[in-house]
Symmetry: C2
Subunit: 354 residues, 2 copies
Amino acid sequence: MTMNEASARVGVDRLRGFIRAALCRLGMPDDDASTAAALMAEADLQGSDGHGIIRMPQYARRSRAGGLNLHPAIRVLQERPGMALIDGDNGMGHVVMTRAAELAIAKARVAGMAWVGVRMSNHAGPASLYARKPLVHDMIGLYFAVGNANHLPPWGGIETLLSTNPIAVAIPARRNTPIVLDMATTVAAYGKVKAKAQRGEMMPEGWMIDRQGNALTDPRRADEGFLLPIGGYKGYGLALIVGLLAGTLNDAAMGKNVIDFNRDDTSATNTGQAIVAIDIAAFGDPDAFKDRVDNLIDDLRGSRRMPNVDRIWLPGEQSSARRLENSKAGIPIPASLRQNLDALADDLRIERLN
Amino acid sequence: MTMNEASARVGVDRLRGFIRAALCRLGMPDDDASTAAALMAEADLQGSDGHGIIRMPQYARRSRAGGLNLHPAIRVLQERPGMALIDGDNGMGHVVMTRAAELAIAKARVAGMAWVGVRMSNHAGPASLYARKPLVHDMIGLYFAVGNANHLPPWGGIETLLSTNPIAVAIPARRNTPIVLDMATTVAAYGKVKAKAQRGEMMPEGWMIDRQGNALTDPRRADEGFLLPIGGYKGYGLALIVGLLAGTLNDAAMGKNVIDFNRDDTSATNTGQAIVAIDIAAFGDPDAFKDRVDNLIDDLRGSRRMPNVDRIWLPGEQSSARRLENSKAGIPIPASLRQNLDALADDLRIERLN
């Protein structure tokens, strides 16, 4: 968590068990609840704590309001050797995307690579979870998604018609932890703005601008402006392209059709996502590839640094370190989150997280 | 051209004919010379003038120095329904990538999508040329490449181990020109820095930093610093991932193995590129898809703007406008470029561009 407050650590097994119990009590079938709970706990484990158990109260609210289908009939709508299009039937994103990732991996094993698009899905947590899935099969994973709230106008505009549509790519190494890029197409994620506001801090220039195009640095005024895309018009272009590939191609929500899932608990979000699996063995020997990745990592990590730079990081390296730390020491649960989870537990009549 | 100097316009047919004659005289077979000349002229037509006929003297120099194979035996090394890996045998990038794009399109027609990687290729001009190739087949095109000179250190580092590895994506519309994103993963391309130096102008902050990490705004001091990646560490991550997908996966040059093709005319660059074709018909009716793209374009273009913003552009819209203008009026050839081309013509004993 980004806030400075007391937090106690909880083992990942207990975290997973709590989420599973909550989802089952809401009415989700056991298998799906296990799948979703494992992925949500994995998010907390790797430090993506804005996408883990903290979302459970929101998922519960949406589920009870009828905005989430706990018994989806997930169907393959279109299929060819190198692709498939899946209808998630408004199921939980974690469950729909797990099915999509499994299909992409199975198809890539034969076709060498496969692209599986999804419509009628929902928020699925951090992008890296799905990009990472092909790794254990010696495959490269790519993941694209349409975000679940629009915070970004087109370049020069003031209407938020685009989301911070994320891109994730995971590439295996042999001696090193995998390279995992997981990035929003904006300079700062919206959660970082909220955290600054809670701490009473100002934002650096470059995170947001106001409706006149001037720098906006007071996070309490966030409603008066917009997130800035990375590289200006380039990030706008990237957010648009990701939305077209993960949303429009699948006939999922994009642009003005995106539902703000923080404000609307009942409408189907028709979230669009896409996963690509590339079988490294189709290109050559996987171990030889991973050795080349390792050598590149060594070259980058061992290269000369600027003054006051302690080390050069590879994408995903900090998440891997966090994962190791949290596996041993438990996952930090801040007091305010625990209060929310206790209230949810009491409400659902399940055991509190302890 | 970015320089303020006299320029006369030349019809695209004459431009293409000149390049073709030069390549033939250097020893390239007729068919390949036609292919490469058409693509180089196309680059100038769409305003990518840093990648068009201006490169002809450099290609000629490399060809004569033995650094470019004019009679490559381009081979498919690996193949599955959804992918292929091609060895370009150190042929001209335009020729190798044309073969790769054709194969990707043919495979995508069956598999729904296909990824074709390339090794032992060379500089192939603007990325958008290849991303655009699937468009006429109602397909989406994606293109990744390892740049031909390293200008980017890892985030926090001072050794330029990465290039400005470009990404291009082309998506068709029906009423509108296609959406075509073509971007380097740095804030400014290196050519823009050179242009600022030539005009005696300072660069804005954010383009480059020096070895201490401070803003570098004097383009005459460019050698003392580095280009900045878009979104800081995010752009570093993107450049790295593009290099891994287009270079390392194909066993092409990446990292310290990249040859600076401006300084070395003899070593094979082993350039890595990748093209992806996605058959829209595999996902659903292509016209329905293109209508959704058109509606999105209308929404973005028609949305409210910041003060002093005349219009909202879509990626690729300005290139399409430039293409139309240059098709009618001819392509501007600045006096300094004409001098270089005249010298080349005299040297090769072909007719001057007129």
